[in-house]
Subunit: 428 residues, 2 copies
């Protein structure tokens, strides 16, 4: 039977994983799709580099256009990364009628709608399961598994580096800087960790999940982002004492048709299923109107988990190819986007204040919350023997972001408050 | 645009949920499939019964054949339950070229291969996501999400009733009988709970998951089954003391091409993600060669979660209908089934013995393990002040079922052993 020819852009660890799976599971894969799958051309940066897997040198090229313009190739797997140049390659490949599998979250978060529109025009598949949460088939689940339900909330631990750091800080009482350094030595964090620790990587993934979950075009700029670099071991100790775990959570939620998407360090109640997701693992929690609580857990990165998702997408595209139905099941966002304003965004808050240790302070503080309509779940004041100030820990009920901003602004002007030490979102 | 007409067999809680979702989310659903979805005929036992949702009496019938033979109906949703008569309805509906969505695990576990073969012959879809783990899209995940990987192990908490009972026994130190009674009062257990508590319900679901995961035709008789009715609160207390949680686990695993499938109360190490799945929730843990550890968590039953999966399947079948590709992506088991024998089935064991409290007993016991090649991870003997015997708790390393059976048989003949109190599989 005529084989399906696949072109690969990039041959790093994920690309090598794709080659391993396609070759190692050839029998299984070809019985699923009804013909052999051949990786017939691979674009690499340096064709002389050794890669720990045998690849016929004749199929390597240093020019991606060789792959994109090869008329024999039906499907292109993009695992080279990059944004603008890569987008140009992919749009051109679609122009040639080729189907695309990509693991590139940056590309899909920034140019997903443009790429999907071109794919629809050309009746091509663009699949990108591996772009969010590596080995967890969450995109397929949002598109198909919950196609019948109205998704109200998605919460994700979608960045392994920051979850490794927070887990380690929590288990060992270690400081952020020490754990970051260890993560860098272990290869779990980049030498420039900004994109991970400042929440940008998670934000890109949440833009993709929000788009799929709410069927509206969520852009990166719609995601409010705060990273973990300011999280202290004291904050984590407080969280644990109150029965929470600190997690960098992406949260996308909606009331009626208004949505909000954010990424921030969040105190999650320990009984919530996502609170026990530790180390480099990822998880995506989905709350649907009918289905209720569900959660999907697995490796968020790593060559082989990511390659598993890439090849699953490849199998799906090839099945469509055999049936002549590529591009016909694409989910194109069709709902008008309405973002919540700060009055509509509501959640619980944890606030840690350092205040003067004298009479009347607590009254001034609780009065400020009352003035701006923020009701409190708990307030604990404790004197600190070693310091000339007292600590006040407050957990609010759900409060609007607008009200909380007013409270915090008011606190800035209160003389008895020495420092607004920490403010965190609370979930669960 | 011409609507798609759907016939419903059964209008219990799940059927009513399907009606609610199809009507409540009509706008979303029809933008996905490109035409309205109309439930045009419903077979019920008693057409006069009130159901808490408005249904035009004109579409009710007490004769399922009215639905099956209606030439206007494209897709049949079977939520009536039952096995032999229901199988006849479904085979006949396929004969008429209708696509089938079913939530019926008994039917699929017993006659899945016959039904799927008929569907393939008629180029019809048969989807059954709701038959295992209600709201968790695990069947889709096994078919599509992990199509590229070699699945080595599936572990499932796939019965909510027993998980509710074991969780409650663990959290409250309560006895099996008391908790079962409470579960019955709460409606979480049937008045005749045999199918749940003896593991039969879980076994049916594991037969379905094993078939999909290993692409071979696992039948109910291939599943070795043991229920929870003999689990005591003392067993659970022992489990907790050793760092385990007691769960009714379905386990399907394979080495090379030999597989085994079982359901039994299992001590799961607390750090394993499946150990923290509590109450009526279900979870399916999948270990793939490339993807590593993943887990899928959610409601295993309940009208709305189950209806979510049914309607997601309905959407998929209607999309295929529009594209003219029904029945073409079916997974038909193609691998020859090779079951592991008792020498090949290996796992860790927990054994609790009541023995004579005198010198030399421990030596006799450990010698028996050595004789049959079972190596031990830990042995703890503790005298029991209140009783004239001592307790010995043993955890083995991985041992073959055959060897363990020989050890236990040998123990039956040892005079110093008064009772083999408990034997459990250990995981994690």
């Amino acid at each position: 039977m005529k084989p399906v020819r696949v072109g690969l852009l990039g041959l790093g660890t994920v690309g090598t994983g794709v080659v391993r799976i396609v070759e190692g599971n050839q029998e299984d894969l070809s019985s699923q799709v009804g013909s052999p799958i051949i990786i017939s051309k691979i674009a690499v940066k340096n064709s002389d580099k050794s890669r720990g897997v045998y690849i016929d040198p004749a199929i390597l090229t240093e020019d991606p256009w060789d792959v994109i313009r090869d008329p024999e190739i039906d499907v292109i797997v993009e695992v080279m990364g990059g944004v603008d140049q890569t987008k140009a390659y992919i749009l051109e490949a679609l122009e040639y009628g080729k189907h695309i599998i990509t693991a590139n979250k940056d590309l899909m978060a920034l140019y997903g709608s443009e790429i999907l529109a071109k794919a629809q025009e050309k009746q091509c598949d663009v699949f990108y399961e591996a772009s969010v949460a590596g080995g967890i088939p969450i995109i397929r689940t949002l598109i198909e598994g919950f196609s019948s339900d109205r998704i109200l909330k998605i919460m994700g631990i979608v960045n392994g580096t920051t979850n490794f750091i927070l887990t380690k800080m929590s288990k060992e009482g270690a400081s952020y800087d020490d754990v970051l350094q260890e993560a860098q030595e272990l290869g779990y964090a980049e030498s420039d960790p900004t994109s991970d620790v400042e929440g940008l990587d998670a934000a890109r993934k949440m833009a993709i999940l929000g788009t799929l979950g709410f069927r509206t075009n969520v852009e990166l700029k719609d995601v409010s982002v705060r990273g973990i670099s300011q999280v202290t071991k004291e904050d984590i100790a407080y969280a644990k004492r109150l029965g929470y775990e600190m997690k960098l959570l992406g949260i996308a939620d909606r009331d009626d048709e208004h949505i909000s998407i954010s990424v921030q360090p969040t105190m999650v109640r320990r009984s919530h299923p996502i609170a026990s997701v530790n180390g480099v693992y990822n998880a995506v929690y989905v709350y649907g109107e009918a289905v209720g609580e569900t959660m999907f857990y697995g490796a968020g990165a790593g060559a082989m988990p990511t390659a598993t998702s890439v090849v699953a997408d490849l199998v799906a595209a090839i099945k469509n190819l055999k049936l002549g139905v590529n591009g016909l099941k694409a989910i194109v966002p069709y709902k008008q986007k309405k973002l919540k304003d700060d009055e509509q965004i509501k959640y619980k808050n944890f606030i840690l204040l350092h205040v003067d240790d004298k009479a009347g302070v607590l009254a001034q503080i609780t009065q400020a919350f009352a003035q701006f309509d923020v009701s409190l779940e708990s307030v604990v004041q404790q004197p600190n023997e070693h310091n000339p100030y007292a600590e006040i820990v407050i957990v609010t009920h759900d409060a609007s972001k607008a009200s909380m901003n007013k409270v915090l602004e008011h606190f800035e002007g209160l003389e008895v408050i020495r420092t607004i030490k920490s403010v965190y979102r609370v979930e669960g």
